[in-house]
C-alpha cells in the first residue's frame, strides 16, 4: 500500500533524499557542539590550553553551529519541496484515476467522499510525509549519534541509557498503543456530532415545522457529551507521555551526576565531559519523545492513506478496448437478453432480460415509473455501465468491441442531473465539439430552442455561468445541455428526462427540430410527460426492470394498462 503511494514522490526524489541528508548533517553538527564545549572546559579552563585554545575551539563551535544552521535551512527547504511535490503528484494521480473511473466506480464512492479524499486527506498525507523525511530521520539519527557520543565519553556512565532508553520506549509505546483505539473512538464520536449539526442545519425547516428544536438540542447535547467523554478517555492516556518522559530524564540526570561525580572524584572522568554528558541525556530522550510523536501522527494519518489508496487501487471496471473499432457505422441499437445489476449481484437486477431492436434514425420514447429502470437502460448504450448478462450492439457491433471514445462520441447523452460548468455558455457548448464555429453553435442552439434566450442575455453566448450554471432557469439549463449534446453530431442521442422543466410548446419545437434535422440520428427520449413521447415512432414501457410493452402511442393506449394509466393521470380536460 505504502510503496504505491511512495512512487508518487516521482521527480522529487532528489529533494526527498537531500532533506534527510541535510538534517542528518545538522544533527551531527549539533552533536559535536557539546563535545567541543567539554573540551573547552577540560582543556581550555582546567587544562593547559588557555585562552588561545578556547578561542580556537570556540571558533570551531561557532562555525559548526553556522553550518548546522545552513544544513537545517536547506533541509527545511528541500523537505517542503519534496512534501508539496509529493502532494502534488498524489493529487494528480488521484484526479487522473478518477477521470478514468466508470460510472459504477463513481457510484461506489460518493462525490463528497471523493472530494474529501482529494483535499483534506492529501493535506494530512503531505504533513505526514514532511514528518517522515524530517522528524523520522532527525530523531533516530540524533538518538544514535548522541548515544554513540555518550559511550565514547564514558562507556560506564553511558550504561544508564541501556536502562533508560528501553524503559522510556516501552512506556511511550504502551501509551500510544493504548491511546490509539481510544482516539479512533473519539474521531467517530466527533464525526457523529458534526453530522448531527450538518443534518439539522440542512433540515432546519423540517425541524422548525415540527417544532423539534428541543428534541434536536437533546440529541446534540448527548453527542457533545459523548465527544467530551471520549476525548477525556483518550487524552487522559496521552498526557501520561510528559510526566513519564520527565521522570525518566530527571532520573537519568541525577544518576549520571551521582555516578559521574564519583568517577570524577576518583579521576575517571573530567567535569566538562560530565556537563556535555548531561546535554546528551536531553538530546537522546527528547529524540525518543519526538519519535513517539511521529509514530502517533503517522498512525493518525493512516486512515487518510487508506482512503487515498482505496481510490488509487480501485479497479476501473470498464476497460477501454484499445484495439476496438474506432468508428460507429450507424445508429442501430440491439439489446439481446440484457440483464443488469448495479452491484453485479444477480439477485438484485435493475434490468431483466431485455431484448429489442431500434433501427437507425428511429425515434423511441421510454416511459415507466420511478425505479423502473429507464435511466439504467439508456446508460448501457454508451457503455457507462457494462451489462451483467446479454449483449448490446450499436451499429452492428457489440459495445465492448468499440474504442470507448469512439463509442461515446457517437452516442450523445443528456443526463438527468444536468451539470454545466463555470465558464461562458459558448465554452460549455464547446464541450460537445471543441472546434465548433459560431454558426455551428447557433445551429445547435436553434435546434435545442436555446438560441433565443441566449441572445436575449446582454452578453449572448459569452454570458458567464457560475458553477453548475446557477444563473439559468431549469428549463434553460436543460436546453443548453441538449445543444451541447447536439454539437457532438452523434449517431444516437439520448434525452434522459431532459425536457421536464421545459414547457410543452418548446418541448414540441425541440422534437420537431430533431425530426427535421436529425433524421439519420437515432433519438431516445425518456419522459414523464406522455406528450413528450406520444409522437415517437415507438414507445417502450418499462416496469420494474423489464419491458412491459413496445408499440406506438395508439397501440399502447389500446392495449397497455400501465401506459393508459399514466396517460389518464395526465389527461387534459381541454374543451
Amino acid at each position: 500500500m505504502l510503496t504505491k503511494l511512495l512512487k508518487c514522490v516521482g521527480k522529487y526524489k532528489l529533494p526527498a533524499v537531500l532533506s534527510p541528508i541535510f538534517i542528518s548533517l545538522e544533527v551531527v553538527m549539533e552533536i559535536f557542539i557539546p563535545l567541543l564545549m567539554a573540551k573547552i572546559i577540560d582543556v581550555g579552563i582546567k587544562g593547559s590550553g588557555g585562552i588561545s585554545y578556547i578561542i580556537k575551539v570556540g571558533g570551531l563551535m561557532v562555525l559548526m553551529s553556522m553550518l548546522s544552521l545552513i544544513f537545517g535551512v536547506l533541509s527545511g527547504k528541500y523537505a517542503s519541496i519534496a512534501s508539496t511535490g509529493f502532494a502534488k503528484n498524489v493529487r494528480k494521480k488521484m484526479f487522473d484515476k478518477i477521470q478514468d473511473f466508470s460510472f459504477a466506480n463513481v457510484d461506489r464512492f460518493s462525490t463528497a467522499s471523493l472530494v474529501t479524499r482529494l483535499t483534506t486527506d492529501i493535506t494530512f498525507v503531505q504533513h505526514a510525509f514532511m514528518m517522515v523525511i524530517r522528524m523520522m530521520v532527525r530523531s533516530p539519527v540524533m538518538l544514535i549519534s548522541a548515544t554513540v557520543m555518550a559511550f565514547s565519553i564514558n562507556s560506564k556512565l553511558a550504561r544508564v541509557f541501556l536502562v533508560a532508553i528501553p524503559v522510556l520506549a516501552c512506556a511511550l509505546i504502551t501509551v500510544s498503543i493504548k491511546a490509539f483505539p481510544l482516539f479512533r473512538q473519539m474521531f467517530t464520536k466527533y464525526d457523529n456530532m458534526n453530522s448531527a449539526v450538518q443534518e439539522s442545519l440542512v433540515a432546519i425547516r423540517v425541524v422548525k415545522a415540527y417544532d423539534r428544536g428541543e428534541y434536536e438540542d437533546e440529541k446534540f447535547a448527548k453527542a457533545a457529551s459523548d465527544v467530551m467523554d471520549a476525548q477525556r478517555r483518550a487524552e487522559r492516556i496521552l498526557i501520561m507521555n510528559m510526566p513519564i518522559m520527565q521522570i525518566v530524564m530527571y532520573a537519568c540526570i541525577i544518576t549520571v551526576l551521582w555516578l559521574g561525580g564519583n568517577l570524577i572524584a576518583v579521576g575517571g572522568m573530567d567535569t566538562g565531559e560530565l556537563i556535555s554528558f548531561i546535554s546528551y541525556i536531553t538530546q537522546i530522550l527528547m529524540s525518543l519523545m519526538g519519535l513517539s510523536m511521529c509514530f502517533v501522527s503517522i498512525i493518525m494519518s493512516r486512515a487518510s492513506i487508506v482512503r487515498i489508496c482505496e481510490v488509487l487501487d480501485e479497479d476501473v471496471d470498464i476497460k477501454n478496448n484499445v484495439e476496438g473499432k474506432t468508428s460507429v457505422e450507424n445508429g442501430e441499437i440491439v439489446f439481446d437478453k440484457v440483464s443488469f445489476s448495479y452491484s453485479k449481484d444477480k439477485a438484485k437486477l435493475a434490468l431483466r432480460d431485455i431484448s429489442f431492436t431500434i433501427g437507425s434514425g428511429e425515434t423511441i420514447g421510454i416511459i415507466g415509473g420511478t425505479g423502473s429502470g429507464k435511466t439504467s437502460l439508456v446508460q448501457l448504450i454508451p457503455r457507462l455501465y457494462d451489462v451483467t448478462e446479454g449483449n448490446i450492439y450499436v451499429g452492428g457491433t457489440d459495445v465492448r468491441d468499440y474504442d470507448l471514445e469512439a463509442l461515446r462520441s457517437s452516442v450523445a447523452m443528456v443526463l438527468q442531473n444536468n451539470v454545466l460548468f463555470s465558464g461562458t455558455i459558448a465554452e460549455n457548448l464547446r464541450w460537445g465539439y471543441e472546434n465548433a464555429t459560431e454558426e455551428e453553435l447557433e445551429a445547435a442552439c436553434r435546434s435545442a430552442a436555446a438560441h433565443d434566450f441566449i441572445t436575449a442575455f446582454p452578453d449572448g453566448y459569452e454570458t458567464f455561468l457560475g458553477q453548475g450554471g446557477v444563473n439559468l432557469s431549469g428549463g434553460q439549463k436543460q436546453r443548453v445541455c441538449i445543444a451541447r449534446a447536439l454539437l457532438k453530431k452523434p449517431k444516437i442521442i439520448i434525452l434522459d428526462d431532459s425536457t421536464s422543466a421545459v414547457d410543452t410548446a418548446t418541448d414540441k419545437k425541440i422534437r420537431d427540430a430533431f425530426r427535421s434535422e436529425l433524421s439519420n440520428t437515432t433519438k431516445i427520449i425518456i419522459a414523464q410527460r406522455i406528450s413528450s413521447i406520444s409522437d415517437a415512432d415507438r414507445i417502450i414501457v418499462l416496469d420494474d426492470g423489464a419491458v412491459n410493452a413496445i408499440g406506438t402511442h395508439d397501440e399502447l393506449l389500446a392495449s397497455n394498462e400501465i401506459y393508459r394509466e399514466v396517460y389518464e393521470s395526465q389527461q387534459k380536460v381541454v374543451e
Partner: protein, 637 residues
C-alpha cells in the same frame, strides 16, 4: 526544560492553512471564555500552581547544576570529596524535579477536564442557539459557514484551551525564571543572550513578512484547486459522457502545478523557521561557552556557573520559539471564538405569542375543557387579562388580510394578498418560481413575520399564538424531504415522538410507503444514513408524507410534496393523500397541475399577486393564465 510538546492535533488535524484573522476585541472574548469556566474556577487555581511548579522546577533544577558541579570541583581541588553534602544536593535536586513532574501532570490532567467541559458547554450553547434562530439567518448564511463554527473554530479554540494557553503561561514563567537565574549567574553572558534574541526577532520578522505574501498566494491556489476538484468531481458523469477526461486532466495539471509552486514557497518559509531559531541558540551556546571559558580562565567565573549557564541558554530559546509559534494560533483561536460568540449573540426568533395549543374535550353543552391526553380535539388556550382562560376549538380556518411581505426591504414578494381557507378546504397555489407560493406558506407557520396586513388562524392573529404551538398545529411536507440519520420508524416518528408502532405503520400505509419499507432489509428498523441516500427521491418523499400523517395536524401544507413521484405512483398514493387531507385545511403548492385539480380553490400567483382564483373548471372557462398553463402554452419555472 522539556516542554517541547506538540500533542497530536485534535480531530481534523492539519487543516491546510487557515487564514489569520485578528480578533476584534480579544479582552472581551477572553473574559467570556473565562465565564464558561466559572464552575471550575477553583480548579484553574490548581492549574496555575501546577504550571508554576513544573516550569520553576525545570529552572531550579538546571540552576542546581552549579552547586553540584562546584562541589565536585571543590572535591577535586581540595582532595576531599564531601559525599554526604553531594548526596544531599542530588536528593534536593530530585525532589525539585519530582515536584515539577507532578505539577506538569496535575495541570495537564485538570486542564483536560476544564477544556473538554468548556468546549462541551460552548458547543451545546451554539447548537441550542442555532435551533432558535429565525429562518432568515439560514437564508443569509451558508451551511459551510455555519458548520465551520462547529468544526474549525471549535477545534482551534480547543487546542488553545488545552495547549496554547497553558504552554504560553508555562513558557512565560520559564523565560522569566531562566532570565532571573541567568542574571544572577552572569549579567555579562545575559547581555549576550539579549543581543541574540534581538537578532533572532529581526530575522524571524523579516522572514515572516516575506512569507505572508507566499501564504496568500498559496491560499488562492488552494481555493482554485479545491474549487476545480469539486466542480469536476460533481460533474464527473458529464465529463465521461463527453469524453472530456483528457481536457480535465490537462487543466488540473496546470492549476495543480501552480499550487505546488505557491505551496512549496510558503512551506519553505514555515519549515526553515524552526532550524533558524534552534541553530541560533547553538551559535549562542558556542559563544557563551567560549566567553564563559575565557572568564573562567581569568578566574572571574567558576565552572559550575558556566555549566549551568550553558544549560540555561538551551532552555531559554525553547520557550521563546514556543511562544512565537503559539502566538499566531492563539490569535486565530480567539478570532474563532469571537465568531462562535457572534453566533451565540444572534437574536433568537422572537416569540410573544400567549395563545397555546392544548388537547381538549367537549362538555355536553359544547363548551371545551382541557384534556391531558390526545383526544382528537384541539383547542386554543387563551389567557385573559383577568387571569382566567378561554378555549376555542381548533378548526383550521386561515385567513390572509392584505398581506404584504418581502424577504428584504427593497424587494416586495407578496403584494396585498387576501384569501381565506375555511376548515377542511383544499387551497392550491400555482405560478412560476418566484411568484410567491412558498412565501405564503412560510408566513402561515411564521418562518417569517408579516410586517403589513395580518393572518388569522381560527380568528386569532397568528402573531398572538406561541410559535411552537402554531407550528405543531400545521403539518408540513416540503419539496426537499430531509430525512435524519436513524431508522425508518424513527424518521416517521419525527412527526409525533410518542407514536406507537401501530401508528407509524398506519401512517406509512396511508402514504403508500409501507410496501417499499417492508422490502427494505430491516423493514422499519432499516437505518437510513446521511440524508437517506439509500432511498430514491420518490421513496424519501413518501416517508416525509408519512411523517406528516403521523403528526395528525389540523392544517396541512404540501409544498411540492409529490414533485419527485412519478404520475403513476402519485395516482397510487392519491387515495392515501385524500384520506390524509380529509377533514383538514390543506394548502397545496404543485408544479404539476394534475395534483391541484380537485382543490376547492386554486390561486394563480404572478409576481406576488393573485391574478386568478376559482375552481379548476372556473379557471379553465376563464381562458386566462391558468388555462394557458394547463394547456402547456407556458413554461412553468
Amino acid at each position: 526544560m522539556a516542554n517541547e510538546k506538540t500533542m497530536p492535533k485534535g480531530p481534523g488535524g492539519p487543516r491546510g492553512m487557515r487564514g489569520v484573522a485578528k480578533p476584534k476585541n480579544a479582552g472581551k472574548t477572553i473574559a467570556r471564555l473565562l465565564g464558561y469556566m466559572r464552575g471550575q474556577r477553583h480548579l484553574l487555581v490548581f492549574v496555575f500552581i501546577g504550571i508554576l511548579c513544573s516550569s520553576l522546577a525545570g529552572v531550579a533544577g538546571t540552576y542546581f547544576l552549579k552547586p553540584i558541579i562546584n562541589s565536585i570541583e571543590e572535591g577535586l581541588s581540595t582532595g576531599s570529596f564531601d559525599v554526604a553534602a553531594f548526596v544531599m544536593k542530588l536528593v534536593l535536586m530530585g525532589c525539585i524535579y519530582a515536584v515539577g513532574a507532578a505539577g506538569a501532570y496535575l495541570y495537564s490532567r485538570i486542564m483536560l477536564n476544564i477544556s473538554t467541559e468548556t468546549m462541551r458547554k460552548i458547543r451545546v450553547d451554539t447548537f441550542t442557539k442555532l435551533q432558535s434562530l429565525p429562518i432568515k439567518y439560514f437564508d443569509t448564511h451558508t451551511h459551510g459557514e455555519t458548520m465551520s463554527r462547529f468544526t474549525n473554530d471549535t477545534d482551534t479554540l480547543r487546542e488553545m484551551l488545552s495547549q496554547g494557553i497553558p504552554q504560553m503561561f508555562s513558557s512565560s514563567v520559564t523565560i522569566i525564571g531562566v532570565f532571573a537565574f541567568m542574571c544572577i549567574l552572569s549579567p555579562l553572558l545575559t547581555m549576550l543572550i539579549i543581543v541574540m534574541v534581538v537578532v533572532i526577532t529581526l530575522v524571524v520578522k523579516k522572514i515572516g513578512g516575506q512569507s505572508s505574501k507566499y501564504f496568500k498566494r498559496q491560499q488562492q491556489a488552494i481555493g482554485a484547486v479545491n474549487g476545480y476538484i469539486e466542480e469536476m468531481i460533481e460533474g464527473q458523469k458529464v465529463v465521461k459522457v463527453f469524453c472530456h477526461e483528457e481536457e480535465a486532466k490537462e487543466k488540473f495539471t496546470r492549476i495543480n502545478d501552480e499550487l505546488f509552486e505557491a505551496a512549496s514557497n510558503a512551506n519553505t518559509f514555515a519549515s526553515v523557521l524552526g532550524p533558524i531559531t534552534n541553530n541560533f541558540s547553538y551559535i549562542n551556546y558556542a559563544l557563551t561557552a567560549s566567553i564563559g571559558a575565557g572568564l573562567a580562565v581569568a578566574g572571574v567565573m567558576d565552572i559550575g556557573t558556566v555549566a549551568s549557564f550553558l544549560q540555561f541558554t538551551r532552555s531559554f530559546f525553547q520557550p521563546i520559539t514556543q511562544i512565537s509559534q503559539q502566538f499566531n494560533s492563539i490569535i486565530n483561536a480567539l478570532a474563532g471564538a469571537e465568531r462562535i460568540f457572534e453566533l451565540i449573540d444572534e437574536e433568537s426568533e422572537p416569540d410573544n405569542g400567549v395563545v397555546t395549543l392544548v388537547y381538549a374535550m367537549k362538555h355536553e353543552d359544547g363548551t371545551l375543557f382541557e384534556a391531558s391526553e390526545r383526544t382528537g380535539v384541539w383547542a386554543w388556550k387563551y389567557p385573559q387579562p383577568d387571569g382566567s382562560v378561554t378555549y376555542t376549538e381548533v378548526c383550521g380556518d386561515v385567513r390572509f388580510e392584505n398581506v404584504v411581505f418581502g424577504y428584504t426591504e427593497e424587494k416586495t414578494v407578496l403584494r396585498g394578498i387576501s384569501l381565506y381557507a375555511k376548515p377542511g378546504q383544499k387551497i392550491a397555489f400555482v405560478g412560476s418560481t418566484g411568484a410567491g407560493k412558498t412565501t405564503i406558506t412560510n408566513l402561515i407557520n411564521r418562518f417569517y413575520d408579516v410586517p403589513d396586513g395580518k393572518i388569522t388562524y381560527d380568528g386569532i392573529n397568528i402573531n398572538n399564538i406561541k410559535k411552537s404551538d402554531l407550528r405543531r398545529s400545521l403539518g408540513m411536507v416540503l419539496q426537499d424531504t430531509h430525512l435524519f440519520t436513524g431508522t425508518v420508524a424513527e424518521n416517521i416518528r419525527y412527526g409525533k415522538l410518542d407514536a406507537t408502532d401501530e401508528e407509524v405503520v398506519r401512517a406509512a400505509k396511508l402514504a403508500n410507503a409501507h410496501s417499499f419499507i417492508s422490502h427494505l432489509p430491516d423493514g422499519y428498523d432499516t437505518v437510513l444514513t446521511s440524508d437517506g441516500v439509500n432511498l430514491s427521491q420518490g421513496q424519501r418523499q413518501l416517508l416525509s408524507i408519512a411523517r406528516a400523517a403521523v403528526a395528525d395536524p389540523p392544517v396541512l401544507i404540501l409544498d411540492e410534496a409529490t414533485s419527485s413521484i412519478d404520475t403513476r405512483t402519485e395516482a397510487l398514493i392519491e387515495k392515501g393523500m385524500d384520506t390524509l387531507m380529509e377533514g383538514r385545511t390543506v394548502f397545496v403548492i404543485a408544479h404539476r397541475l394534475s395534483t391541484v385539480r380537485n382543490s376547492h380553490a386554486i390561486m394563480v400567483l404572478e409576481k406576488g399577486e393573485i391574478i386568478e382564483r376559482g375552481t379548476h373548471d372556473d379557471l379553465l372557462k376563464q381562458q386566462g393564465k391558468y388555462y394557458q398553463l394547463y394547456t402547456g402554452m407556458f413554461e412553468l419555472e
